[in-house]
């Protein structure tokens, strides 16, 4: 059962990594604005007229 010592250590270490990740993301400003990105992703990419189609015959 001594393996439990190792597993407990691992679990605490993993939890610490996640805590660290959250603190980093929070300080980094990732949670500052949680509303706008949701709206932003609904915008379509603009379709730019392809040049290849324009110039087929004129040249």
């Amino acid at each position: 059962m001594n393996i439990l010592y190792f597993l407990i250590g691992c679990s605490v270490f993993m939890a610490l990594i996640f805590l660290g990740a959250f603190i980093w993301s929070y300080k980094n400003g990732q949670n500052d604005d949680v509303h706008t990105p949701g709206m932003r992703m609904l915008f379509d990419d603009e379709v730019s007229p392809e040049k290849s189609e324009e110039d087929h015959f004129s040249n």
Partner: protein
């Protein structure tokens, strides 16, 4: 269905969605209500940005910008505004009140298409802020703001920097503490489970490890997450009074010490689970308490109304000067529509000041040379020259904010703090009795454990939780009804109010529902003539009347002349027409009535247009519902509406007219001295002093995005009739808190029963705390909903 949709959109401006006038502007088969909307459309279509119109129908706003931007060329002012500047890149954040839909986001994030010198722009939708990074070598700040103005997104640049103040207001440290506390609680719970279920002899070796791990997790819980409680407790003890944080700090300390002692001397498992759980819940309650609205600013003062710069005359040359740099003796040049930033003497020019910010009276006042003009006055005619006699911060109006009155206000104790005192005393009494009893029995071990256990079990944590949970539930109910309260403490203040003061203009009357009446008779032909004249003026009154006239075609006019702030004159079809102030009319046309826009055609007086403010609906009924309260009306206006007010209000109501901001403030102070808790409803800068001084200040507005003075709550004008229900619910909220307190006491009695015997096992404490917490939180939530339904708010 589609046809129907089509016909409705055809009647609206393609850009802003306003009703189309009979004479409309047309481009690309699209109709526009005014040249401004057409202009924006042209800019967008030239830059291939017509997707703007795809995401929402009629997403634009009418252009209202008339500000002068010369001051944006001053390096000093630029540096004050910029967030960041290096090499050729500058970053700036603007507050743009016009942001309201996804099209706004799309357009403002494609600014780089309009001007390549703009690198990128990013929007924070809820805060209505746009952060722009641009190349300041290719585009100046002034040009950037002009670009924004041209497409209808005028940034609000005021003396009070809402953007920067918001940034510092967010309490990031608390969120981090909650995260750490949650992490600690989760881990400690995990390591405490084996203890709960009982360990076999084989597993006993782990008990030691779990104990030390729990102790290790308790250290940050007590000293990082719980630090604020210790600081607050020490501070309040220094001031010789006990607040709610004092017993909480004591419990955290006792829990930690007992856990440490038990683990180090291997006496038992300790109370790490209770400690971390307690800290986590306490911080959660604190967060609920601090939560406020991102998109509404409650702390505005005169500075939000003032521009950031004014025009000074230095050796006869106009030069922009930052408002904060204005000194006594400076000469200021105030143009039509600009605000006087400091008390000053009129040196040159004809001053017609709109003093509505200061007095609430909207009729312009004529000032003669040498007269003092108070800060906050708005010039309505030609440009004038002023000499400053007081710096901005000490002017008559701004002085209201700096007065000492407000300080005693902060000391008010809420229910929690007043209960905490007695609660702590009782707990100490019980703890010492138990200790004395066991010492008397010569059982020092039991004495120690009884003492600590009583303090642990009698935790006022429920007090610290039930208040924020109840009040924040009430906040969110208010929120749905258009009543935005600053924070949970303010709800408690609302419940205590017994006196209500109303402002008149903008509060009892609606500022947007104003309608135009013409006193006199105009034929259709004359209507057209008047409209043709007014069409040439940009004055807001002209626009208003023109919209009301709504004629189908116009005549050519000649010899047009506009005297700014006074009126217009022109010839239409060989007829001479005047419109404007009485002094504009040809001499000899006697007019009894001073105010309004007067019309004379061919030297015949025709009558005048008047903007009549409309009273909000349901006022009489509202006053009946509020009859329990002492009511007052303080109006900055003249007493022309006295008869109307008399009908609305009961006889016992005090109605006062011509109240200056200072008089309003003094009226509030007087009532407070007489032990009244004052609720003040106002709307403008002239009420701001009174709003701030009152126990609960409500700023009434017809549009949440408008600037409102600093206050405790913002109420939508349409919802004024719900005011009695709001007050009742806040009172019920206090009732809920008291009931939940009683429930908590019941739990505590059970806990104390075990605790005094010195036999409190950590498991009991660990179970009792969450159960009582869950009970309280579910009780407050359900009770709040029930009371909200009872008050017809849900």
């Amino acid at each position: 269905m589609q046809d129907q949709h089509k016909t409705t959109t055809e009647l609206l401006c393609y850009h802003c969605g306003a009703d189309l006038p009979k004479v409309k502007y047309q481009v690309d088969n699209k109709d526009f209500c005014c040249a401004g909307c057409l202009g924006v459309y042209k800019i967008l279509s030239e830059n291939n940005l017509c997707n703007y119109y795809v995401y929402n129908a009629n997403p634009g706003k009418q252009l209202q910008s008339d500000g002068r931007l010369e001051y944006l060329d001053e390096p000093k002012i630029i540096n004050q505004l910029l967030d960041y500047k290096q090499d050729n890149t500058s970053i700036i954040t603007f507050y743009v009140p016009a942001i309201h839909c996804s099209s706004c986001i799309w357009l403002l994030e494609h600014l780089y298409k309009i001007n390549p010198a703009i690198f990128s722009s990013r929007i924070d939708f809820l805060k209505k802020q746009v952060t722009i990074s641009f190349n300041h070598e290719e585009i100046s700040l002034k040009q950037l703001v002009e670009t924004l103005n041209h497409i209808g997104y005028e940034p609000a640049i005021n003396l009070q920097d809402v953007v920067k103040e918001h940034k510092s207001a967010v309490d990031k440290a608390l969120i981090l503490k909650i995260a750490v506390a949650g992490f600690l609680m989760g881990n400690v719970m995990l390591f405490s489970f084996p203890e709960y279920f009982g360990l076999s002899s084989f597993e006993k070796q782990f008990q030691y490890l779990f104990g030390w791990l729990n102790l290790a997790f308790s250290i940050p819980a007590a000293f990082y997450c719980g630090r604020d409680y210790f600081i607050s407790a020490i501070n309040s003890l220094k001031h010789k009074h006990i607040n709610l944080d004092t017993p909480l700090a004591l419990i955290i300390a006792v829990l930690f010490i007992r856990t440490a002692v038990e683990v180090v001397f291997n006496l038992g498992p300790g109370f790490a689970d209770t400690l971390t759980g307690l800290v986590f819940l306490l911080l959660l309650g604190k967060w609920l308490k601090q939560r406020t609205y991102h998109h509404i600013s409650f702390d505005r003062d005169y500075r939000s109304y003032f521009p950031i710069a004014a025009t000074a005359l230095i050796d006869g040359v106009e030069k922009p000067i930052a408002i904060n740099d204005i000194k006594i003796g400076d000469r200021l040049w105030i143009r039509n529509g600009e605000l006087v930033p400091a008390d000053a003497i009129l040196m040159k020019g004809d001053a017609w000041m709109d003093m509505s910010f200061v007095t609430g009276e909207s009729e312009p006042v004529h000032k003669v040379l040498g007269e003092i003009i108070y800060a906050g006055g708005k010039q309505t005619t030609e440009a004038i020259e002023l000499e400053v006699i007081k710096p901005v911060s000490q002017s008559y109006l701004t002085g209201l904010w700096n007065s000492e009155n407000y300080k005693e206000h902060a000391e008010q104790q809420n229910f929690n703090d007043s209960v905490a005192k007695y609660f702590s005393l009782v707990v100490f009494f019980v703890a010492f009795c138990a200790t004395a009893f066991w010492l008397f029995q010569n059982d020092s071990h039991k004495a120690w454990s009884a003492f600590t256990a009583v303090i642990i079990v009698a935790c006022p944590c429920v007090l610290a939780l039930s208040t924020p949970f109840t009040l924040s539930a009430i906040l969110s109910i208010f929120d749905k009804k258009g009543f935005y309260v600053k924070n949970t403490d303010a709800v408690e203040a609302l419940a205590k109010c017994d006196t209500i003061i109303f402002d008149k203009t903008g509060t009892l009357t609606s500022s947007e529902g104003a309608s135009i009446h013409f006193s006199g008779v105009l034929s259709d032909e004359e209507n057209r003539i008047v409209a043709s004249l007014l069409r040439n003026s940009t004055h807001p009154l002209s626009r208003h009347i023109l919209k009301a006239l709504n004629v189908d075609h116009f005549y050519e006019i000649s010899n047009y002349k506009e005297v700014i702030g006074k009126g217009l004159r022109a010839e239409v079809n060989d007829r001479v027409i005047y419109a404007g102030h009485t002094s504009m009319l040809p001499i000899g046309l006697g007019v009894g009535h001073e105010t309004g826009v007067h019309i004379a055609i061919d030297n015949v007086y025709k009558g005048y247009f008047e903007i009549k403010q409309e009273w909000r609906s349901g006022l009489a009924k509202l006053m009946i519902n509020l009859s329990k309260f002492k009511l007052l009306v303080l109006s900055g206006d003249s007493d022309k509406d006295h008869s109307v007010l008399k009908v609305i209000f009961s006889k016992s109501t005090h109605i006062k007219f011509k109240q200056s901001p200072l008089q309003k403030l003094e009226a509030v102070l007087l009532l407070q001295k007489a032990q009244n808790n004052v609720l003040m409803l106002g709307d403008g800068l002239n009420d701001a002093g009174a709003l701030k001084q009152s126990d609960f200040g409500i700023a009434l507005t017809d549009n949440i995005n408008n600037f409102t003075p600093g206050c405790d709550a913002i109420l939508k004008g349409d919802e004024l009739n719900l005011l009695p229900n709001f007050i009742q619910l806040s009172k019920d909220g206090l009732k809920i808190i008291k009931i939940s307190f009683a429930i908590a006491i019941a739990y505590n009695c059970v806990g104390i029963f075990y605790a005094v015997q010195g036999t409190l096992y950590p498991l009991v404490a660990a179970v009792l705390m969450p159960i009582s917490t869950v009970t309280i939180i579910s009780f407050t939530t359900l009770a709040t909903r029930w009371f909200a339904k009872k008050n017809k708010l849900l």
